[in-house]
């Protein structure tokens, strides 16, 4: 595995139910994301995007395979250690209910510092700087209900980055935003991921947003359909039937091989 790899999924499968009711939500998916790389996880509804994201975050246990963040296998951790690991290594942005409703924008970001035991002057200053960088200098003391959807998402981005995580995960961060705000949010996220050297993974069904990403991981019916770049022909993303299957062998190896396969 390359030293630059922040997170890696190795032959990950997830099966729900058993016997005749068994459903394979994720089927032997492998890929890796490097530091400073912003990746989109796309696919139609039911393709397994969110399940994959949950496993990458350690919120869901794979049925088989493994997920590594900074070289550490999440499956080998107990619940408590995994939660602590998430606090340190994973930043999260959700589709909705992103913020604690009774905390201001600044307090929401600072909450991560409190949870990580880093609530000191230096880190609090960084929280303010992050919010200023995200254009929220004058909204720091506003409660979530006083913020627009776009502003709330930007606060969530600030919160996801405040602890310098290895991986930033975003679940449909633009789903409840109008187009202009959606572009702003994704552009900001991509910029910060690149600038700060994090690995960013964004689940989205909005293909317009992939232009800010470095790679696009396409899931279909729980399987890895293909990995492309925004410069490739993306027509098959909109019409999965026209996509050419990629050999599993390509993704069962390390990230360098993956990169070579998609280039």
């Amino acid at each position: 595995m390359s030293n630059n790899v922040a997170t890696e999924a190795r032959s990950v499968s997830k099966v729900y139910g058993s016997g005749a009711n068994q459903v394979k939500a994720i089927d032997d998916v492998s890929f890796s994301v490097e530091r400073g790389e912003f990746v989109a996880l796309v696919g139609p509804s039911g393709s397994g995007k969110t399940t994959m994201l949950a496993m990458l975050a350690g919120l869901l246990q794979p049925s088989s395979g493994s997920v590594l963040i900074d070289g550490e296998d999440l499956l080998e951790m107990g619940d408590g250690r995994r939660a602590a690991f998430r606090r340190r290594k994973v930043g999260f942005t959700f589709q909705a209910n992103n913020l604690v409703s009774f905390l201001t924008a600044l307090e929401n970001v600072e909450l991560m510092l409190r949870l990580a035991g880093q609530y000191d002057r230096q880190h609090r200053k960084r929280a303010r700087q992050l919010l200023e960088m995200l254009g929220l200098a004058d909204r720091m003391h506003a409660l979530p209900r006083e913020l627009s959807g776009g502003q709330q998402q930007r606060v969530a981005i600030a919160r996801s980055l405040i602890n310098n995580p290895a991986v930033v995960l975003a679940d449909e961060p633009t789903a409840s935003l109008d187009t202009e705000r959606a572009y702003q949010v994704v552009e900001t996220m991509a910029h910060l991921v690149h600038e700060q050297g994090r690995a960013g993974i964004m689940v989205t069904h909005d293909l317009r947003m992939v232009e800010y990403t470095d790679r696009i991981i396409h899931l279909l019916d729980g399987r890895l359909e293909q990995i492309v770049t925004p410069d490739d022909d993306l027509s098959c993303l909109a019409d999965p039937g026209s996509c050419q299957m990629i050999s599993d062998d390509v993704f069962a190896v390390d990230s360098d091989q993956v990169a070579a396969a998609v280039s």
Binding site: T50, T51, L53, A54, A57, L59, L60, G80, A83, A84, F85, R86, R87, R88, V90, F92, F94, Q95, A96, N97, N98, V100, S101, F102, L103, E107, L111, M112, R114, L115, L143, R159, D171
Partner: protein
């Protein structure tokens, strides 16, 4: 703890309107529970005060009376026999009946417990003003402070007392020799008269002049060594015929209706507490249900269960404390407006127990919501699970 406290305080303050309203609900429950406790304490005290404060260690009943004061008769011979038992310091007769102090000015007669005692012997209450009884047959009385407050009688005043004799009401003139405190019996304030005078005044089928050594209801026994109460009880039963001997607590617990009354009020209090438990539990349960997505998000970003549970618990304790404080203050204010005749006593162990129980039911009721918050899956934040 600090992050949990921070989250609890922030949420409470930023939603202070809602939480204050709920504190008022808890305050109303507190008011109800404290009033029931005060009523229980007041009625209990009204029944047992005299026996509780009695300057005697044991009470002697006729053995066939089944510890009923009204049915018990202890004659002179029995009292002498009690006195002769080794270890007995003093024996005093006590007679119980009711009478009325008529008052044209008040427009309302005052019912009192008329208690006959021997001057200077166990049974006579201590006075806080004036002096104790002097002669066994004098027209003199010690009155309870409540009688003095209601009638305006003072030491040295004379007053009439009414009692049915032979089918007609008779009036008796008594002089106030002294005033005593906290001596209610049968939920009535008491007046104490010499036992011979009591025998003359007490309601009878025929007019009586009062015997020289009348039978009383019970005998109060003071011991040389109060620490040997159990041994002395057994010794008295063994050496004196046809008697039943009990301590003061057993005596008041066997006054008419005392136990049934206290059980009724305790049951009411129990139901009020149960209702409180359900209301408080229900509120915090609904509150947690509304917060499930947020709790899921908090867990997803790595908030430990410990912090989420502690924050919930701290919040419940804060709201509960505020409600109990408001309820306590309102109860105190309302209690000041009640006239002295109403048997409400806002002091004593019953009130402390009631306050403690309300403080306990808050967190107890909230435990369900804490459990619910612990069971919220972080996957909820991603729209999975739940």
């Amino acid at each position: 703890m600090s992050t949990a406290l921070y989250l609890a305080l922030k949420e409470t303050w930023r939603n202070r309107g809602r939480f204050f309203l709920f504190s008022l609900v808890i305050a109303l429950i507190t008011l109800l529970i404290l009033f029931i406790a005060a009523l229980g304490e007041g009625l209990g005290a009204g029944n047992r005060e005299y026996l509780e404060n009695l300057d005697a260690d044991l009470l002697v009943y006729q053995d066939t009376a089944d510890l009923s004061i009204a049915s018990s008769r202890i004659g002179c011979t029995t009292r002498d026999a009690l006195r002769s038992v080794n270890g007995v310091k003093a024996v005093g007769p006590i007679g119980f009946s009711s009478a009325t102090i008529p008052d044209a000015n008040r427009g309302e007669d005052l019912g009192v417990s008329l208690i006959g005692v021997d001057p200077g012997r166990p049974g006579e209450p201590p006075v806080t003003a004036g002096q104790g009884l002097e002669r066994r047959s004098a027209n003199e009385a010690i009155i309870d402070r409540m009688v003095a407050d209601v009638t305006g009688l003072r030491v040295g005043d004379r007053f009439q007392i009414r009692s049915p004799q032979g089918g007609e009401d008779q009036l008796y003139l008594l002089k106030v020799l002294g005033i005593t405190e906290s001596q209610m019996y049968a939920i009535q304030p008491s007046i104490f008269v010499p036992i011979i005078k009591w025998d003359e005044i007490r309601p009878q089928a025929r007019v009586s002049g009062g015997a020289q050594d009348p039978a009383c209801n019970v005998a109060a026994v003071e011991l040389d060594d109060p620490g040997q109460i159990d041994e002395m009880r057994a010794r008295l039963v063994a050496q004196v015929r046809n008697v039943d001997v009990v301590n003061r607590q057993t005596a008041w617990e066997n006054t008419p209706g005392y136990t049934a009354q206290q059980q009724t009020l305790n049951t009411q209090n129990g139901f009020a507490l149960l209702i409180g438990l359900l209301v408080i539990g229900g509120f915090f349960q609904i509150q947690t249900l509304q917060k499930v997505p947020q709790i899921g998000m908090l867990k997803a970003i790595g908030t430990p269960n410990r912090i989420i549970a502690l924050a919930s618990l701290v919040q419940i304790v804060i709201i509960n404390l505020l409600g109990v404080l408001i309820g306590g203050l309102v109860t105190f204010g309302v209690s000041l407006a009640f006239p002295p005749g109403i048997p409400l006593v806002f002091e004593g162990q019953a009130i402390v127990r009631a306050l403690a129980s309300i403080l306990v039911i808050g967190p107890l009721g909230g435990l369900l919501s804490v459990r619910l918050s612990l069971r919220v899956e972080p996957l909820i934040a991603l729209g999975l699970g739940g």
